[in-house]
Symmetry: C2
Subunit: 156 residues, 2 copies
DNA sequence: TCAAAAGATACATCAATAATGCACTTTATA
DNA sequence: TATAAAGTGCATTATTGATGTATCTTTTGA
């Protein structure tokens, strides 16, 4: 029971963009390369997440030389429940059909767990990217430093 | 993002036991074989879950001829949050360390998601096995029928 | 006292899917 | 028109949950 790294990476990317755009360079585009160097991630995976965020209209991507991407909305318009639901996929947290459960017609479990899932997302719906940028100055500092020393900063 | 089948099976087993003990045979022991026939599950997997439920003192297992297992507590004393937390494992829903995230020292995400997770379990804490046995009569009927025709009742 | 029936345990294998990698295409622009 | 960027599809690897096989231990009734 854990969010996918895919989802996690998506949130990191949004935080990075929000942080950069909060700074002296509000119109600066970020690139996949830059994100990968900052977070030490695989370019392919980030590529796919960026593309997904673009399809969701959360970021504006631009191809070609001097391309890149930036937030398409203000940070306080990007709700965490939406981002996580979309990136994570919105399947039921319990699967009564695979393998099929004979108790299904009389079972209360699925609705109880389902309600719990909704409470999780309701909680997330009270937060936006802006809340993730609370320590904006510190984040900027971190991302600046990490970007400057692309070979270091590894860990398990 | 889904509960493990392991956890799901554990809950089904408890429902089965609760249902049987609600009926004419409150002291009847169930066996792994019987559960497998009812739900069409792998004996090995069920074996492990039963063992786990025993270690948690939720059921009393007994080896040997005429062995088997039954609930060790009243259904209204078996809380769903406990069962699911234990069977599922209580790891964080987001992993900041693998791969390590540079933003960690300034990041709010983990605490927001962590709180959402706790809300999920708080919700579950308001339910017990007794709530899963709401349709007890129907469950008994289902389990009886399923047990009688062990070769049928398949589905994808 | 022994055979059979049950759970306990350890290890091996299979399957699903998330994560990652590679190659190539398309687009923008200097 | 070369280059730098994202877009796309397919292949591969890694993780881990799910399942299988074998054997051990315990209990009890014949």
């Amino acid at each position: 029971m854990q969010l996918k790294k895919y989802t996690d990476y998506g949130l990191r990317i949004l935080m990075y963009l929000g942080s950069v755009q909060n700074s002296e360079l509000p119109d600066k585009r970020a690139t996949i390369k830059e994100i990968c160097e900052t977070f030490k991630l695989s370019a392919n995976h980030v590529n796919k997440v960026v593309h997904h965020l673009g399809r969701l209209k959360l970021i504006e991507t631009r191809r070609g030389k001097h391309g890149g991407f930036l937030l398409a909305k203000a940070p306080d318009e990007i709700r965490l429940d939406y981002v996580i639901r979309e990136l994570e996929g919105d399947e039921a947290w319990i699967d009564c059909h695979n393998p099929y459960c004979v108790a299904l017609p009389a079972c209360e479990l699925n609705s109880i767990v389902g309600r719990g899932k909704e409470l999780f997302y309701e909680h997330l719906s009270r937060y936006t990217l802006k809340d993730l940028l609370k320590n904006s100055a510190q984040l900027q500092q971190i991302f600046l430093t990490a970007g400057q020393s692309p070979a270091l900063n590894r860990s398990a």
